[in-house]
């Protein structure tokens, strides 16, 4: 039986991964988050095609990892691979600096203040200040608690619009 084997490029996989969102932040894809650290394609002699994707979690104890792995597998399987393998490792460690600029804009629209750039610097209390309120854009805000509703969020308060808001923590 002859089958037309379409060449699946890495580019198509990246596009497919754009459809996979972090369930805790449903406006940003795992690609924009910078969670995908490797894609490997292979085909055996009998035409068996495998895709292996490596990802790294935003927080080690992130409870969304299993859901994300499953969604990645489902999305990439649509490209008609015989096998899709999703590996989680720390060979490349996720930092909030891996988040793409467009992702940060989407975060702010979603109501979450984006993390400031750390540029490999040590985290200091100063870096947790000067954060813009996602609602009124004032920077007259303060950190209320470094721990929020999910591992990746801190709680802040805006003195200008008198609203509490959440920030994606710089890590």
């Amino acid at each position: 039986m002859e089958m037309q084997i379409q060449e699946i490029t890495e580019h198509q996989i990246w596009l497919a991964l754009e459809n996979v969102k972090d369930p805790e932040i449903p406006v940003i894809s795992v690609v924009e988050m910078g969670m995908i650290t490797g894609i490997q394609l292979s085909a055996s002699d009998n035409g068996h095609r495998t895709c292996s994707i490596t990802m790294t979690p935003t927080f080690v104890g992130c409870p969304a990892i299993d859901v994300i792995k499953k969604s990645i597998r489902e999305e990439v399987m649509k490209l008609e691979f015989d096998e899709v393998e999703v590996k989680v490792d720390f060979e490349t460690q996720w930092t909030s600096d891996r988040m793409k600029p467009e992702a940060k804009l989407k975060l702010e629209k979603f109501g979450l203040a984006p993390p400031v750039l750390l540029n490999d610097d040590e985290l200091t209390v100063q870096q947790l200040n000067n954060v813009r309120c996602p609602h009124c854009h004032s920077t007259d805000t303060t950190l209320r608690s470094a721990f929020g509703s999910t591992l990746c969020r801190a709680i802040r308060f805006c003195f200008s619009c008198k609203q509490g808001f959440e920030q994606f923590k710089p890590v």
């Binding site: 490792d89 720390f90 460690q93 930092t95 985290l123 209320r144 721990f147």
Partner: protein, 251 residues
Amino acid sequence: MSNALKDLLYKMADDALIIGHRNSEWTGIGPMLEEDLAFSSMAQDKIGHAQALYKILNEVLGEADADTLAFKREEKQFKCCHFVEQPIGEYDFSIVRQFLFDHAELIRYDILTQSSFQPLAQLAKKVKGEIKYHVMHADTFVKQLGNGTEESKARIQSSLNYAWHLALGIFEKSEFENDLIAENIFVGEDELKKRWLEKIIPVMESANLKVPATDEIKIVYGGRKGFHSEYLKPLLDEMCEVVRTDIDAEW
């Protein structure tokens, strides 16, 4: 060498799991909402760290899977120190424990980023960034309570005095100490303790706390060798209660 590595990973993972469980006991009863969330979040972080360490034990060193290691071992097989086993007590004790324990952890992971054992070095780089938040949290409250009212000052100092010799038990040495140092896996507990003291003493001073005197004979050892306080067994019974109702259930 793999026995030395296993010993190091087990004690780190067991410390993280048990302190994580203790932290989670603040969920719902924190003295204020922010602290309820803080201890709950830190609990989740710690249990995540334990899981990642058990995963290395499983995938690289051939031990059982993470769930088995966490929920199906006997008390004797745990390598955590007595300090993490202690009940949460009052909030001042939990904050002091977090301060003493998390500073040690942050330094340990910072050192391990240079470890010759790559899986641990990679994980350490990630975990370090998370524990910084825990340390920042502890420092803030230790300073606030230490510079607060007469009651808060008295409470935090007395908790610190009570916690001191338990905390020093973190640095109980294993029989593999020299192997770990020789293979550049870890610099060893003595060096860790030295750097820990250098870090925490200035914070205690700025919190107006007296650094408790160390009496070598009072340091609480045993946990690293499987001899635990009276508090571990009841904790494990509670933590493993559901798993033990049907040990082979698929989740």
